[in-house]
């Protein structure tokens, strides 16, 4: 490569590195704002503000789901293994919502540190498999799955 081209290559690499560092710093500074997400443990420990709009999420605790017989209101507990928070939501639940599945919600905490969700979204994981495979896995892990649920 001749010196002129080498210089141009160097300039391009410097440009990309410069922009990269600038964007990385900006994203690092914005990290809190991008997320403002609180885990059940943080909500229980009092880290999350009361009355302010926050995002929260966790796994729906099996057996905790209660439906209001007169309306669309549901209450259930979410957990991240370290803390458990009661969630109340009025509206139509997403297809993927079920016990043991991850959810993410936007809403506010009331005085009793219950999470009153305005919006509720189901989080999906990266695993895809046919139902028969899932049945086979469930059968093989039946005792293990129960022990996990009891934790």
């Amino acid at each position: 490569m001749n010196p002129v081209r080498k210089q141009r290559l160097l300039l391009i690499l410097l440009l990309i590195a410069g922009v990269g560092v600038a964007v990385a710093l900006a994203l690092f500074a914005l990290k809190e704002n991008i997320n403002h997400y609180y885990s059940p443990a943080q909500i229980v420990s009092g880290e999350a503000p009361i009355g302010q709009k926050i995002r929260g999420g966790g796994v729906v605790v099996p057996g905790s789901l209660k439906r209001d017989p007169n309306g669309l209101t549901v209450t259930f507990n979410v957990s991240d293994g370290e803390g458990e928070v009661e969630v109340e939501y009025t509206g139509i639940l997403p297809d993927l919502f079920r016990e043991g599945q991850g959810i993410v919600g936007t809403g506010k905490l009331d005085e009793k540190r219950r999470f009153i969700a305005e919006e509720l979204l189901a989080k999906h994981d990266e695993n895809y498999m046919p139902p028969e495979v899932q049945h086979a896995i469930d059968k093989a892990h039946k005792p293990g799955a129960n022990a996990e649920g009891a934790q």
């Binding site: 391009i12 440009l15 997320n35 919006e119 989080k123 895809y128």
Partner: protein, 249 residues
């Protein structure tokens, strides 16, 4: 190092001749693989254990999303070649790739929204993966608009190359957004280093679809690039000869 091959590749005339020979074969292969991948994926794979049939959009969503980023990276490489070696063909390639990449990026966002409604419960969230993908769409628009705003061909080439190179920073952000932030979008199913977290009877049609979309992109790019070459080289003798020969046959 011997750079003759590289410079030969950059010759519009040589590219026009060789791509004319490849094009029909690539087009046939792309059509066959697209038909196989999509029919297999959309009709014959088993439903997902959780999502049922709605997951089938993955056979369109993942290939379009892959290509949206891959085309942008190719454009950035073409931009670097334009700036360093001042090869005209690289700039033509950058110009021809931009609208294709835009279409794929738009399709990826659209199929993602259609899938998101039943699965997550919303068409759109301002989640890191979705937002960075939207920024990619705007970068594509920017590259196309910038070219339209400048009259001189050399300035066009340099300005678009620089803008594309600046935007390439967004690509690793898209790729790693699902790891760096707590996103609603799930992590990658296909990983380079680990086993994919997908059953093989779903994985195979997906891989075929991805390959088919890459081939489809190559075919569309070659067609666009050939037209662009004829347009920009219209004053050369070989183009006049080629056009006359085409008119006669």
């Amino acid at each position: 190092m011997n750079w003759t091959f590289f410079h030969k590749l950059g010759s519009p005339k040589w590219f026009y001749e060789i791509s004319g020979k490849w094009l029909p074969w690539l087009a046939i292969l792309a059509a066959l693989m697209m038909a196989t991948g999509l029919t297999w994926g959309l009709l014959f794979t088993p439903p997902d254990y959780l999502q049922g049939n709605s997951y089938r959009i993955i056979f369109l969503h993942v290939p379009t999303a892959f290509l949206a980023s891959a085309i942008y990276v190719s454009m950035a490489i073409a931009g670097a070649v334009t700036l360093i070696w001042r090869i005209k063909l690289a700039d033509m390639a950058l110009k021809c790739m931009a609208p294709i990449g835009t279409s794929f990026c738009f399709l990826a966002l659209l199929t993602g929204a259609i899938w998101g409604k039943p699965t997550w419960g919303t068409w759109w969230v301002w989640d890191a993966r979705l937002t960075s993908m939207l920024i990619l769409l705007f970068l594509y628009f920017g590259v196309i608009a910038l070219r339209g705003a400048i009259r001189s061909a050399t300035t066009q080439a340099r300005a678009c190359a620089i803008l594309t190179l600046v935007g390439v920073v967004n690509i690793p952000i898209i790729k790693f957004s699902v790891q760096w932030w707590n996103t609603l979008h799930q992590g990658s199913t296909l990983k380079l280093t680990e086993k994919p977290s997908m059953a093989p009877e779903m994985l195979w049609p997906l891989l075929i679809s991805i390959a088919a979309f890459y081939l489809f992109f190559t075919v569309v790019l070659i067609i666009r690039l050939r037209t662009e070459i004829l347009d920009r080289e219209r004053r050369t003798k070989w183009v006049r000869n080629a056009v006359e020969a085409g008119a006669r046959s």
